[in-house]
């Protein structure tokens, strides 16, 4: 349901991030984007999220041309369909855990009860509920990550995008993340993880591994379960 067709991205300073990429991700698949920093995998995530627009080519999600959406609809699409886990988490440090997790829901002006239900659901799912009043800047790395994951899931999006999720984590926490990934897969979400952490390359619940180098697709391999 996610398709990239002949997509290229050149930044303003003439750096070529992506060159003629063709990509496809089916619904419910867990795809690993493999490559070192600067290989263009973060760019692909941003394109799928609609946060970036390609210089040429098409980005389609559920047959919709994401790149062509004006800002209003682009934000709507993102809110309804995407849960992004950033490399640096991009939490607001001066707000508390629950305030951060709630942020995607704020503009929706939901009923108080409904909002609380959604909040509690994700906070429980990612075991961060016991720290809900704590300011994010006072959390440990793992707690921050779980907060970021909870925020990405609070609106029950179909697609989860994770950019270098284990870059700042130790072995233990990295393994915890893998477990969370498993849980998300079991919820039938479409997940794309951009990483160069080898922990991800041999997982049995991964559907596809796509290798990137210097903005070009190297290899696509399917993993048999």
């Amino acid at each position: 349901m996610i398709q990239l067709k002949h997509v290229s991205k050149v930044y303003d300073n003439n750096i070529v991030a992506l060159e003629n990429i063709d990509l496809e991700v089916k619904e419910g698949e867990l795809v690993i984007l493999k490559g070192v920093s600067g290989s263009g995998k973060s760019t692909i995530l941003s394109l799928i999220a609609g946060v970036l627009k390609p210089t040429s080519g098409d980005v389609l999600v559920d047959k919709k041309h994401i790149a062509k959406l004006p800002d209003h609809f682009s934000s709507q699409y993102r809110r309804d369909n995407i849960g992004f886990i950033f490399q640096k988490y991009n939490l607001i440090p001066t707000l508390s855990v629950w305030e951060n997790i709630m942020l995607p829901l704020v503009p929706l002006n939901l009923d108080e009860k409904e909002l609380q239900e959604k909040l509690m659901h994700v906070m429980n799912m990612f075991t961060i509920v016991h720290k809900k009043e704590v300011l994010v800047k006072k959390l440990s790395g793992g707690e921050q990550q779980r907060t970021a994951i909870a925020r990405a899931n609070v609106n029950n999006p179909k697609i989860i995008l994770a950019d270098e999720p284990t870059a700042n984590l130790d072995q233990k926490l990295s393994c915890e993340f893998i477990q969370i990934l498993k849980k998300l897969k079991s919820l039938h979400k479409t997940i794309i993880v951009a990483t160069h952490d080898p922990l991800f390359f041999d997982l049995d619940f991964v559907d596809k591994v796509i290798e990137m180098h210097n903005g070009k697709l190297q290899r696509q391999s399917v993993v048999c379960s």
Binding site: S75, R79, N90, P104, N109
Partner: protein, 390 residues
């Protein structure tokens, strides 16, 4: 109309608190600006109210004599001639003038009355009906009493006549006048006593007050008076009102021009500050966009933010102004208006609430501020979120 997004409001409130340095600065500046402008308007309103009340107590026509282009005394014999004009209801001679009490740096207005004449002024009418004035007594206003007490004159006062005679006049009582202006400066005594103090002869008067029974006849009467006494000045109450109003308006417009310039400068400062968002603020907005906030959501939050700050500033400004004007009595601003030399004594401003003024100030402060914050925010909100987050 959907219900107000309380979550957004809460977020805006939190935002203000989290970036409080910048917001407090802007809030304080806005408060001060509103306070100054409001004080100005309050003083102006109170003074206009006072003056309107005082003016109503003036006679319809005042006739003065001139010598060498300056005001001089009239002879009471003129009264009979003026009374023959049809439509003239009454002509009273007025004996009044200023007396400088140099020691206390005060200036009193001495008004002589004849208890058996018609009075054109309510304060004087009350005194004429109730007071008892003989040749060496006087009634003083409450403000005058305070000044005299300070220099230990409690039961009498020694006036100095032009021929350097000391005239001792006893204080028979204190009156409360219809307006504060009167209470503060006025001393009332019989006409003959006043004449003694001013060094007038027994038939001299300061000027003549003419009342007219039918206002339709006023212009015809003015012409007749002028014809009878070609060298005299004939002034109507309306002329006086217009002259005072003009002076008022002149001062107001100068001040307002200055203020609009200040407001404009403020607008520029706020606009500049709002554009110069710190990197943290920019990042926050980018994050919000990345997690699904639309530009309109971001702007709405900024709008709420602007609303909260300007509303708080407006209310604080108004309260500050009220305190400054009606409790502290508006020290500097009062002097912009009160230029005429009657007013060297202290003067308490009456409390006048003008809803139009409050509404005008509301319109000036809130929309201006919100405008100055929303436009720059729109520019930031449309930045490519991705760039900011890396």
């Amino acid at each position: 109309m959907k219900k107000i997004n309380l979550y957004l409001l809460e977020y805006a409130l939190g935002y203000i608190v989290r970036y409080r340095a910048k917001n407090i600065f802007i809030g304080v500046v806005l408060t001060l600006l509103i306070a100054v402008l409001a004080s100005f308007f309050f003083v102006q309103n109170s003074l206009q109210y006072e003056l309107a009340s005082t003016l109503d107590a003036q006679p319809q026509i005042i006739v003065t004599n001139q010598k060498a282009g300056r005001d001089t005394t009239v002879d009471e014999k003129m009264i009979e001639k003026l009374l023959t004009i049809k439509g003239v209801g009454d002509v009273t001679s007025r004996v009044w003038g200023y007396y400088e009490f140099k020691h206390m740096n005060a200036k009193f207005v001495i008004v002589g009355i004849d208890t058996f004449e018609n009075q054109y002024n309510t304060t004087l009418a009350d005194i004429a009906n109730n007071g008892e004035l003989n040749a060496s007594s006087m009634l003083i206003g409450e403000g005058v009493q305070k000044i005299l007490n300070k220099s230990y004159y409690r039961d009498y006062f020694n006036f100095m006549t032009p021929d350097l005679h000391v005239q001792k006049i006893y204080i028979a009582g204190v009156f409360k006048a219809a307006t504060t202006l009167e209470s503060n400066n006025m001393i009332v005594m019989s006409k003959d006593t006043a004449r003694k103090i001013f060094g007038y002869t027994s038939s001299e008067a300061t000027d003549l007050a003419v009342s007219v029974t039918n206002p339709d006849e006023l212009s015809a009467i003015l012409v007749k008076i002028q014809n009878l006494f070609p060298t005299f000045h004939v002034i109507t109450r309306k002329d006086f009102k217009i002259a005072l109003q003009n002076q008022f308006d002149k001062t107001s417009s100068i001040f307002l021009t200055l203020f609009i310039i200040t407001l404009f400068t403020f607008f520029m400062i706020v606009y500049d500050k709002s554009s110069g968002l710190s990197s943290e603020e920019k990042k926050e907005i980018a994050i919000l966009k990345a997690i699904g906030w639309k530009i309109e959501d971001v702007l709405k939050a900024r709008l709420y933010e602007g609303l909260i700050i300007s509303l708080v500033a407006y209310l604080s400004g108004i309260i500050l102004a009220l305190f400054f004007v009606y409790v502290l009595n508006a020290p500097v601003i009062k002097n912009i208006f009160i230029d005429y030399n009657d007013m060297t004594n202290d003067f308490v401003l009456p409390f006048v609430v003008d809803y139009e003024t409050l509404f005008l100030l509301f319109l000036l402060s809130l929309p201006v501020y919100m405008f100055a914050t929303v436009i720059p925010s729109w520019r930031v909100a449309t930045l490519d979120a991705d760039e900011v987050m890396r």
